[in-house]
């Protein structure tokens, strides 16, 4: 048989690998900075770009898309070539993919710090960047499929299936969730509103975890674990079941992020049921990984790569057991909006994603430089620092979450709430301090890796094109064989099948909510925002208030007692985007309108501690000085009209008149409390919005109890 000679492209893997290291450190630093701000607000430097509400999206986007994204691309390009016995499809596409992705990251870093955000978690980037992501994702897809099509290995190894599913599902999620109406180059409104926006967002958010942070990384596990252990995966059969069951079930589980919210009940139950079922494939995958090491545990003692893998896979198993448990309504009632969620995601982020990324870097870099790792001892120390860091991070956060939820729900014998909200937060400060120490240890470990890999690289010589040879793939004579074997050789069919499978789950969730109008009962007294309130709402979004404040009162006794009437789906019909939030570091704001005088808000934004002593909220001094840009009002009104918000025709032309009128009345209110402010200050718009939130429903005439029970 004719043997062909060819070369693996190591240069592109090197580029993505180095980007992984750089953005990993940057993302972790941003996280540490944000974590310290929670108990020491002054470290925000009182600057808008470095305040928690903007730093937190920077941290999450950097870790997800820059750190884990680049690590996945490095690992995929390394393993795909070797599993296909072929060089990547096209070098130019590889480099377009690389530089395009890094440009997106740079643009994301700048725009997020400048406060340009869509206000939807993990999808904060504005529309021009969304389009760039789509284009680069297509480049990645062409490059991957091109490589698969010109492969010299007949069968597609299971890792490649995971890569295919990743590509197709992320494409679908990104496009559907990023549908938005541009107002300007840097501002857009989500096409969906309220409940629908929430459903689409968490369908995206949940599956971004599934298909950006899990499936590509599982693919890496199925390649690098057998390589590092030098033995095949425990059960290939199990890996097939793992794959199909995982992608079939994952896509349905998104609504579990919205339990007890205004989302229709059936959708919440759907999310719960599928989440519980997910335990099976996830644990199948974990056990498959761990059993691969049976009889090879002695290697784990020696090899840092395997050490990282073992903890990573264990963390995968732990967080995929915890996830379904958190999807049970009775547990979610305790965990949701607290630091428990933060602990849960960091078991996944630090343990699973971070440790797999470290493992593959420790594996690939010595090999691509034709040398040995500079110091196994240093890598082992990294491993231990990282592991202790994870524990020190997670345990205080679990404690904090559980303790805070318990405090929220406590009543005195007289039937009063036992604790002020602020008490439940300040009580957690020691836990927040411990968490940041855990994060610091983890970061220190990562810096040790940087040194170790730097020394490794210095001691070796880079092999840009690694020689390999394999026989060309000849067309097999037709013979009877089992049909899935045929499927395994047809990557395009595989792609279509995966898409159909994930699309079913998405459609079942969304179509009813979108088509059945009665699904979201309208409330006659709920009216669109005034122009000033709309501008104020955009400031609320810009400053990332949703990262610490929810706008969703759940139907619990304690929440109704603390905040007021529980939230109804019909209240959010004009909310493009929805701002329900997912964490309460500060209190819920769904009923904040009318709760305090205008002057309270003014003073509170200038210095939160002057109004609530001991508050952990950062100062928003710039809102008092910045002038509101009213030139954007007409465009914003028009965009809202396009989305079906019922402003009268031609209102865009007169909106600013109403805006100034309302601003003057707020300035008048402030003056009565001896506060002088120009009517065009941003704080005035924000006060207008905050005073409006959650008020409309109070104007609703009291309903007959009978009609409610229908």
């Amino acid at each position: 048989m004719q043997v062909e000679k060819f070369y693996y492209d190591n240069k592109i893997v090197k580029a993505f690998g180095i980007a992984t290291i750089i953005f990993g450190v940057v993302g972790m630093l941003a996280g540490l900075w944000a974590a310290i701000q929670i108990y020491y607000p002054a470290i925000s430097l009182n600057l808008a770009p470095t305040t928690f509400g903007r730093l937190r999206p920077l941290h999450t986007n950097a870790i997800i898309f820059a750190f884990v994204g680049n690590a996945s691309f490095a690992g995929i390009y390394y393993s795909l070539q070797r599993l296909c016995k072929a060089r990547l499809f096209n070098d130019k596409l590889s480099w377009l993919h690389f530089w395009g992705w890094q440009a997106i990251i740079a643009a994301a870093a700048v725009t997020l710090l400048m406060g340009m955000t869509t206000g939807k978690e993990y999808a904060e980037l504005e529309w021009p960047i969304d389009i760039a992501i789509t284009l680069i994702w297509v480049v990645f897809g062409i490059n991957m499929f091109g490589t698969i099509l010109k492969r010299r290995e007949r069968h597609l190894y299971v890792a490649i299936w995971f890569y295919i599913a990743t590509w197709v599902t992320v494409a679908m999620l990104h496009i559907v969730n990023s549908m938005e109406i541009p107002v300007s180059l840097t501002k857009s409104y989500s096409m969906y509103a309220g409940v629908q926006d929430a459903l689409v967002q968490w369908w995206y958010g949940h599956n971004a975890v599934a298909f950006f942070l899990t499936t590509p990384v599982l693919g890496l596990m199925y390649y690098f674990l057998p390589k590092a252990a030098n033995r095949p995966v425990y059960s290939y059969r199990l890996s097939i079941i793992h794959f199909w069951a995982l992608i079939f079930l994952y896509i349905w589980a998104g609504p579990h992020h919205l339990l007890y919210t205004s989302l229709p009940d059936w959708a919440q139950s759907l999310g719960t049921v599928f989440s519980i079922m997910l335990i099976a494939p996830s644990w199948g995958g974990m056990l498959n990984g761990l059993f691969t090491l049976r009889g090879a545990w002695d290697k784990v003692r020696e090899d840092p790569v395997l050490k990282f893998m073992v903890v990573a896979i264990t963390c995968y198993g732990m967080s995929t057991l915890e996830g379904p448990l958190l999807s049970l309504k009775n547990i979610n009632a305790i965990s949701h909006f607290t630091d428990w969620t933060i602990a849960h995601v960091h078991i996944g982020g630090l343990g699973w994603n971070g440790f797999i990324a470290f493992a593959i870097l420790y594996y690939m870099i010595p090999r691509m430089w034709g040398t040995k790792l500079y110091s196994n001892k240093l890598a082992t120390n990294h491993f231990w620092l990282g592991t202790i860091g994870i524990i020190l991070y997670a345990v205080p956060m679990y404690w904090a979450g559980f303790e805070q939820a318990s405090m929220w729900k406590q009543f005195t014998p007289e039937g009063q709430l036992k604790f002020q909200f602020l008490e439940t937060v300040t009580n957690l400060v020691p836990m927040y301090v411990a968490r940041s120490v855990g994060g610091l240890l983890y970061l220190t470990g990562a810096l040790m890796m940087v040194v170790n890999l730097y020394k490794t690289i210095a001691s070796g010589k880079f092999i840009p094109d690694e020689a390999a040879e394999a026989p060309a793939l000849v067309k097999e004579a037709p013979h009877k064989e089992y049909w899935h074997r045929v499927l395994e050789r047809k990557p395009v069919t595989m792609l279509v099948l995966s898409l159909v499978l994930v699309a079913i789950g998405g459609l079942v969730q969304m179509i009813p909510t979108f088509l059945v109008k009665e699904n979201i009962p309208t409330i006659a007294s709920v009216k669109p925002y005034t122009p000033l309130e709309l501008q104020g709402r955009d400031i609320y979004i810009r400053e990332g208030c949703y990262t610490c404040h929810s706008q969703m009162v759940r139907p619990f006794r304690d929440e109704v007692a603390r905040y007021g009437e529980y939230s109804k789906a019909g209240e959010f019909v004009y909310d493009h985007p929805f701002q329900w939030g997912s964490k309460r570091t500060g209190p819920d704001l769904a009923r904040v309108g009318g709760k305090y005088p205008d002057s309270w808000h003014y003073n509170h934004m200038y210095d939160p501690r002057s109004m609530s002593p001991g508050s952990l909220m950062p100062q928003y001094v710039w809102l008092l000085d910045n002038a509101l840009d009213t030139s954007s009002t007409p465009a914003k009104i028009r965009a809202m009209q396009t989305l079906g918000v019922p402003y009268p025709d031609g209102y865009d032309q007169v909106a600013n008149r109403d805006l100034m009128h309302q601003a003057d009345s707020i300035v008048g209110n402030l003056k009565k409390d001896k506060i002088e402010t120009p009517a065009n200050a941003e704080i005035v718009a924000l006060i207008a919005y905050l005073q409006r939130v959650g008020r409309d429903i109070k104007l609703e005439p009291k309903q007959q109890p009978l009609a409610e029970n229908k």
Binding site: H155, H484, E518
Partner: protein, 53 residues
């Protein structure tokens, strides 16, 4: 108002529930059949792909 009220108004709505259950059931049946009908030897070959380069 419970969602079921609106579902019940759709004519022939039963078919949707049945179809969903069927898709779900068939999916796992088909997958498991293929997985367990495939010869162990072919799995052994494929699972060695990462190790052969």
């Amino acid at each position: 108002m419970k969602f079921i009220n609106y579902l019940e108004k759709v004519s022939g709505v039963d078919i949707f529930g049945l179809t969903s259950l069927l898709i779900f059931f068939l999916f796992f049946v088909v997958m498991l059949t293929w997985v367990f009908k495939t010869k162990k030897k072919s799995y052994q070959e494929i699972s060695r792909i990462p190790l052969d380069n």
